[in-house]
Symmetry: C2
Subunit: 325 residues, 2 copies
């Protein structure tokens, strides 16, 4: 009989639309991983007869599917989670930690969810930033912890980390501190414009990406016309098509380039990473688009970091003394 490798932690990356579960050993190596569709906004249905409150029951069902067998196999393992599971719409609201925030401080403010007879769940705090326009993140702080730990140890981090996605985050890291961050809703705005405005009506699917149209859109933010801002420049997706200067099959990529260009140009104008290393972390094809945008607006040296959430969860759990053995 084969003995299963011994784990030290169960780590959950629990977001809005998905739930990723990891069984990690004492060195943070991944022994098993699972990808479930049960983000906090699409939990499985509970038995209608359940008396324990339906939302709690639905979280329990997803939790059981994610790691119930792992816990029976090795009782006493700690479970840690990050992401929207700690939001007001999550299993339990985990208070935010204020920015600037030391990475080592994250593990000292976990929120514990007691589960009766079951193993408790520890939820990583999100980060909150004050100011005229406040800002929040949940999950990205854990990615940052993993990214920083993955850099060569002799470097004191001086980073601007870009995490592109539905909501892009740009995170300034100095030493072991998250100093500042910005959010751009670029991915979600792109989807809303494409699916729910006039701009989508003339778009046609092409064969793969239209690199030329993407580059054409990327340049807009840097032109004199770009000063009018996104609310105005996006209309060119339609008018360039009417003028015969943008094919219908290129209009989606043009709009993508235009939005990413506006994001990158304005971010760099506000927070040019003097002396800082620019790090990109995210889905590969999206990172390639951001790398092209960064190069166009003057930042050519970019470091690609692998996805680092499970590494960050392991580090935070270790800092909190949760590792088994």
């Amino acid at each position: 009989m084969i003995q299963a490798a011994r784990a030290a932690l169960i780590a959950l990356d629990w977001g809005t639309s998905s739930l990723r579960a990891y069984r990690l050993d004492a060195h943070g190596n991944v022994l098993d991983a699972r990808n479930l569709p049960w983000g906090i906004m699409r939990l499985p249905e509970a038995d209608p007869g359940d008396a324990g409150g339906s939302l709690h029951a639905r979280f329990e069902i997803a939790f059981e599917a994610a790691c119930g067998d792992w816990l029976r196999q090795q009782p006493g393992l700690a479970v840690i989670a990050c992401g929207m599971v700690g939001s007001a719409q999550g299993w339990r609201e985990a208070p935010y930690l204020d920015v600037p925030a030391g990475l080592p401080d994250i593990g000292s403010t976990l929120t514990r969810v007691d589960r009766g007879q079951g193993t408790p769940l520890h939820i990583v705090p999100g980060l909150s930033q004050g100011g005229a326009l406040p800002n929040v993140m949940r999950g990205e702080e854990t990615q940052i912890a993993g990214i920083v730990a993955g850099l060569p140890s002799h470097q004191t981090p001086n980073l601007l980390v870009c995490l592109p996605g539905t909501h892009s985050k740009w995170v300034r890291v100095t030493g072991q501190r998250i100093a500042h961050f910005d959010t751009f809703m670029t991915g979600e705005v792109y989807a809303a414009l494409r699916e729910h405005t006039l701009l989508g009506r003339t778009m046609r699917d092409g064969q793969g990406e239209d690199a030329q149209s993407f580059a054409q859109g990327l340049a807009v933010a840097g032109t004199p016309e770009g000063r009018a801002g996104v609310l105005s420049t996006i209309f060119s997706t339609r008018t360039l098509g009417l003028a015969g200067r943008l094919p219908a099959t290129g209009q989606a990529d043009y709009l993508s380039g235009l939005l990413i260009g506006h994001e990158v140009a304005s971010l760099l104008a506000m927070r040019a990473p003097a002396q800082a290393t620019l790090v990109l972390c995210g889905q590969a094809s999206l990172c390639a688009r951001y790398e092209q945008a960064l190069a166009y607006y003057g930042v050519r040296d970019v470091v690609h970091a692998p996805q680092a959430t499970e590494r960050g969860l392991w580090l935070i759990a270790r800092g909190a003394g949760l590792l088994a053995g």
Copy 2:
């Protein structure tokens, strides 16, 4: 028996979502007006057995409903139309006139739609503007013609006309020429963000407008944080709510103010109306929002022009020699 007042023209304001019909006398006074829901994107259904091509037949049905009885009552009246009816998705594509464009030139380039035994329809050209990001309008050129004619006759117009709406237009008019214009998709973007992104999820209906939240949003574009642009600042609709600094019932008005503020601030930075009179024309409550935004960003003298499309259609028809009698 009462004799119906004698008309000189039938004028149609035929847009994407509605069709307005006017019976006008020799002085441009409105004798009758009708409002039909049959914009070019929601025409009435034709008889499935009709052999004449279903799209043409659907335009004919809408046309008949708009003015068939007026034409039978007074055969030989000319019919003129402006708006999206002249677009590629309209009844007949009416070629654009290039900007800069003289207002008197509009009437000399009407597109005639022959209707067999029926009275022909004359469609007003839209305007097209070249440049790095081209621009187009259909219908607003006719409003401008009406607005300019409504100003005191001793003034040589030197105007910046704002036509707020789904797609706002800002039109520079010098003398009898449309010199330049800009488009902002603010109204459509607002609806898409509200209905199809995370921002709408925390919004709640209040009792009427929340003027304080609107003003709070209006200011954002002028702050240092506003330099990040709309893709970033809109996220504050959510985060100010999370921080307890914006009620759920104020979030829609905050977002409206934020978007209008970005539009007005960037437009004025690019094309401050030195010596020009700023004219607002559109739906009253929306114009009030734009007037507040203009005042906040430094333009206090604003002239309100009444809706002027039927006046513009009458003027263009007169210039083209279409008036009866």
